[in-house]
Amino acid sequence: MMEILNHILTPEFGYSVIRVSTPIVFGTMGAMISSRAGVFNIAIEGIMLLSALLGVLFSAVMPVWIALFLTLVVAGFVGFLLGFLSIKLKSDIFLTGIAFNMIAVGGTIFLLYLASGQKGVSTSINSKVLPRVEIPLLDKIPWIGEPLAGILSNHNILTYLSIVAVIVLYYLVYKTALGLRIRSVGENPDAAESVGINVRKTQYIALIISGVLCGFGGAFMSMGYLSWFSNNMVAGRGFIAMAANGMGGATPVGGFLVALFFGFADAMTNSLQLVTSIKIPVQLIQMLPYLATVIGLVLYNINKRRKAMRIKLMLEDKNK
């Protein structure tokens, strides 16, 4: 037990929580904005995977920032495409999203092979990573400075951007006209339509933003978290993000906190594997984040139902 605590109560552990949370945070924000507009982006996983590969491929032949930009453009386009199929062509958005994810799994391997002749890993491609950023002066704070810097400083720039994304989305959703419209479209499309808001257009916009956010998450995977692309490297983070969004009540801050929790579970998985005193099977540890997701999802929904029930009872009481 002590050994586990020794692993967790270190700046390194805090650092790794933030690091592994980054893609989940981006994915969660992507899920948040689309679900707020009443369209369920189930292709988050696939868009992240595609973006991870594109980041590698683009950055091999062009400056890393342009590569990132192009990756985001493509990711946003995939979001648009999902919208086109589900809104315009009236496809089942779930099955379409599943198909997108399938195409992404096979398609990335296909593309990687075309580009490098390699299958599975992109180590032969000379791709670039996005820079890390040191927060100045943080370690100069007395007492807590050193560990704080250990946790917060020297992350990949996209990690900081993920936190910026949460803040930006908070303002977008709650403080701008577009946010108001997105929320109205998701909550009561009839109301939006009755005041002349173009429901479809608003949903397209939300899906494009969602795609771009997933693009950030994917780019982080191969240009920050790791410095290469490997087959199916997103490994369910897109789906976990969907769950995190549900548990976070489709709010930016709520989703962010749940995403951090999943990041914590993920980091625990890595740390527990280093613990030698108690032999916990590695597979059971790896199972934890997913198990936590299901349990969290169920508890969240039970709670939501209870609340709805309480409100209903309250209304009935009032009526008597």
Partner: protein, 357 residues
């Protein structure tokens, strides 16, 4: 045959043609020897018994998961745990195979039944959680797949791993567990019969029994089903149980037919393939073998193509399959044509009826 069925066939074939068209364009774009690639893709599987055997070997699990998904989706649940049920069915079959010695036939049979029961339980969980707590069955079933994978891997590595195998794999299966080869020179095994029997039974269940009828009704319109007095939740669960059972059985058949030992180090993916097969078969078990054969054929062709000199990786198939699904589920794809047809038909009908109002 009525017009609607005709239209659906037309639409499905159009989807397949367009998807193949896209593949052709991709092949021509990427390959140095596109003609060789096309020859390998389309005719490769026919060039030797072993290759055609590969097609059939792959068709077997696709039939089973395609059938399972058709049943699971038939009551309107988008439950994606077929993948986990198939994998964990395999784990349970392995446990029975290695831990409990039994005589021939009985051994496989017992393993298969237990795998099926496991699959049924697995697939029922998301539907149950959905009804009781309102949790999205999509998310919970996806998570369940990962949980089952790690749990299965744990069981494999800690209790059944053969240290002398050199790879992460179980001990060798006893002969009492293995299915016999049907066609010498290939690995086509008796599981083919089992899968076709399952399809037949699945079809009977879904289309010839009153329970199957109710399941389809619930899938088509829950409110209507409730109004006619059906127990909607019970019927939904039943469809999950039957579909899950078949998925679990599939894991056992695949293991006993194709493997000497358990060595899946990742989710095998047949559950996802089942979604493709089922979508292509429009959820009708009777069409599942054809859809499974089609998918197995292009996959085998893609594999042959990639081994050849053409330099086209086999993952091309994923793009082809994804495009097919997208086009099939796009209701408005060719909808103008369909609307015209409906309009003509109803106008005819009004004329027949005497045209009142």
């Amino acid at each position: 045959m009525n017009k609607n069925a005709k239209f659906e066939i037309l639409r499905t074939s159009m989807a397949i043609f367009i998807a193949i068209g896209i593949s052709l364009v991709l092949i021509i774009l990427v390959s140095d020897a596109p003609l060789v690639a096309l020859r390998d893709l389309f005719f490769g599987p026919l060039t030797s018994l072993r290759r055609f055997g590969n097609v059939i070997e792959l068709t077997i699990p696709l039939i089973i998961t395609g059938l399972a998904v058709s049943l699971i989706f038939s009551s309107g649940q988008i439950n994606l745990s077929t993948e986990g049920a198939f994998f964990f069915g395999g784990i349970v079959a392995m446990m029975v195979a290695l831990a409990i010695p039994m005589p021939s036939y009985i051994h496989f049979f017992a393993a298969m039944i237990l795998a099926g029961i496991t699959g049924a339980i697995v697939v029922t969980i998301p539907a149950y959680l959905k009804e009781k707590t309102g949790s999205s069955e999509i998310v919970s079933s996806l998570m369940l797949n990962y949980i089952l994978f790690f749990l299965g891997s744990y069981i494999l590595y800690y209790y059944f791993k053969d240290p002398e195998a050199g790879i992460n794999a179980s001990y060798l299966f006893p002969d009492t567990f293995r299915l016999s080869v049907l066609v010498p020179g290939t690995k086509i095994h008796t599981g083919l019969f089992l899968s076709l029997i399952s399809v037949f039974l699945g079809y009977i269940f879904l289309f010839k029994t009153s329970t199957g009828y109710k399941i389809r009704m619930v899938g088509a319109n829950k409110m209507f089903s409730k109004y006619t007095g059906m127990k909607v939740f019970k019927i939904t669960l039943l469809s999950q149980i039957v579909g899950g059972f078949i998925a679990g059985v599939g894991g056992a058949i695949q293991l006993a037919g194709m493997y000497k030992r358990f060595n899946w180090v990742a989710l095998p993916g047949y559950g996802w393939d089942g979604i493709i097969v089922s979508t292509l078969a429009k959820g009708n078990p009777l069409y599942v073998p054809f859809a499974a054969f089609f998918i197995a054929y292009i996959r085998t062709g893609a594999a042959i193509m990639s081994r050849g000199e053409s330099g086209v990786p086999p993952e091309l198939k994923a793009i082809t399959q994804g495009v097919i699904i997208i086009l099939i589920v796009a209701q408005q794809f060719l909808a103008k044509y369909k609307n015209k047809m409906i309009y003509k038909e109803s106008k005819l009908e009004i004329e027949k009826a005497g045209g009142d109002q």
